[in-house]
């Protein structure tokens, strides 16, 4: 057989267009023929160049997402595995300890240990959920303030510290019909059983506008509902929880009229 037959076969082989019998014969030849191997390689490169010559198209994004999931498991899943591993280690330690003991005592010890692990885990989960919720609330409040600032009818009113907190500072971002938010800083955290109460004062009459606490750094952001009419003065007093209908405690922050 002259090599010309193989020259024809290598072209068809590169296109995967040989019939099964012919393909088997050619593959037997290919294994020992450097010339055909080189021709095959060049043919595949040429076909690839043709195939890739068109304009690229963005594939559906879920294909990459699915591949990345298959390559590396989700970090959250790794987290769960670590928690599980820790639980398993503690439980294993409990079993080793329990090995020295007997009967009911072993079971009780093991159960107690398991219970402790379960409590730890659920406490951790609750803490995380709480932190996430607090963060979410805060971000939502910031977002509301920013949205409010876009409205030309919104004013920013300064509040000055008074009485026990002379250096405290406050700003009310205020819209007469939509209400607004008060942001405070450098306010001492309220003593146990007490909280700060916001007041909107119109025509000399104060209206309660909610209780709030400051964080460890003395900051807070608090939503203020719209008042009954145009607000003349904003004030904050220290009051016993859960709040009073009319101010009784000292004024800690107030706007100047």
């Amino acid at each position: 057989m002259s090599h010309e037959t193989f020259d024809e076969q290598v072209a068809a082989y590169a296109l995967d267009a040989l019939d099964a019998g012919e393909r088997a014969l050619f593959e037997a030849h290919l294994a020992g023929c450097a010339r055909c191997e080189s021709t095959l390689r060049m043919s595949r490169e040429a076909l690839a160049a043709v195939a890739l010559a068109g304009p690229p198209a963005v594939p559906p994004p879920d294909v990459k997402a699915a591949l990345m999931r298959r390559v590396a498991p989700l970090p959250r899943r790794a987290e769960t595995r670590r928690l599980w591993l820790r639980g398993a280690l503690v439980a294993a330690a409990a079993m080793v300890v329990g090995g020295f003991l007997t009967g009911m005592f072993v079971a009780a010890r093991y159960e107690a240990e398991l219970g402790r692990v379960a409590r730890d885990t659920s406490r951790l989960r609750e803490d995380l959920a709480r932190q996430e919720a607090a963060l979410g609330t805060r971000v939502a409040a910031y977002q509301a303030v920013v949205d409010l600032l876009r409205d030309p009818g919104t004013r920013v009113i300064a509040m000055k510290g008074a009485g026990p907190n002379p250096t405290a500072e406050g700003r009310v971002v205020w819209h007469e019909t939509a209400g607004g938010h008060v942001l405070v800083a450098k306010l001492t955290p309220a003593p146990a059983g007490k909280a700060y109460e916001m007041w909107t004062i119109s025509g000399g009459k104060p209206t309660a506008a909610g209780m709030f606490q400051v964080d460890a750094s003395g900051q807070a952001i608090h939503r203020v509902p719209p008042g009954g009419g145009p607000v003349d003065v904003f004030a904050i007093t220290l009051e016993p929880e859960p709040g009073v209908p009319a101010p009784t405690g000292p004024i800690v922050l107030a706007s100047t009229k």
């Binding site: 296109l15 267009a17 595949r44 076909l47």
Partner: protein
């Protein structure tokens, strides 16, 4: 010196997921139109694309730069998988020539992508394939995009098998020649 593609495949062989992400970003937009042109259905094309790239991840350690570029490596695989998909669909429908005729004649049926797909077909034809004599181009397209064997092509275009073989050889000689220029 290793090309960017070779370097990415080498890192993939070592289990580097970031390299795989970059490999995908680099080649998926090039390979996807080819798969789409062969299987002519977006859902099938997305499936095939995922299979192909999953295979490259699994087979990265077997890649040998001496045997071809990463482009040819991934394209050969993509074309094979796409043809497999078309053949299995064709087997399921238990008809053979008619659906292929329609597929070769018509652009994909999806709305939104029609114009782009047709344009992409044209640009391929006006590129390297467009410089082949029509009988050679026909044989090459029926094999490469249609997945037909030479015997099937001969029956289809009503030419002797020897003629089909000669045209196939000449078409590939010419493509290799164009690539060297």
């Amino acid at each position: 010196m290793a090309t960017v593609g070779e370097e990415l495949v080498r890192r993939m062989a070592g289990g580097d997921g970031d390299a795989f992400a970059r490999f995908y970003d680099r080649y998926a937009p090039l390979v996807y139109p080819l798969i789409l042109r062969i299987v002519r259905d977006r859902t099938d094309a997305a499936d095939v694309l995922q299979d192909v790239f999953w295979e490259t991840w699994r087979a990265a350690s077997t890649y040998d730069p001496a045997r071809g570029t990463p482009e040819a490596w991934v394209v050969t695989r993509a074309r094979t998988r796409a043809i497999d998909r078309v053949r299995s669909v064709r087997r399921r429908s238990e008809t053979f020539v008619a659906p292929l005729d329609e597929a070769m004649a018509a652009a994909p049926e999806e709305t939104g992508g029609d114009a782009a797909d047709r344009a992409s077909d044209r640009s391929v034809v006006s590129g390297a394939l467009g410089r082949l004599p029509e009988p050679q181009r026909e044989v090459l397209e029926l094999a490469y995009y249609g997945g037909l064997t030479q015997t099937e092509i001969a029956e289809r275009i009503k030419q002797p098998l020897g003629t089909v073989k000669t045209r196939t050889r000449l078409a590939l000689e010419r493509l290799r020649e164009m690539m060297r220029q």
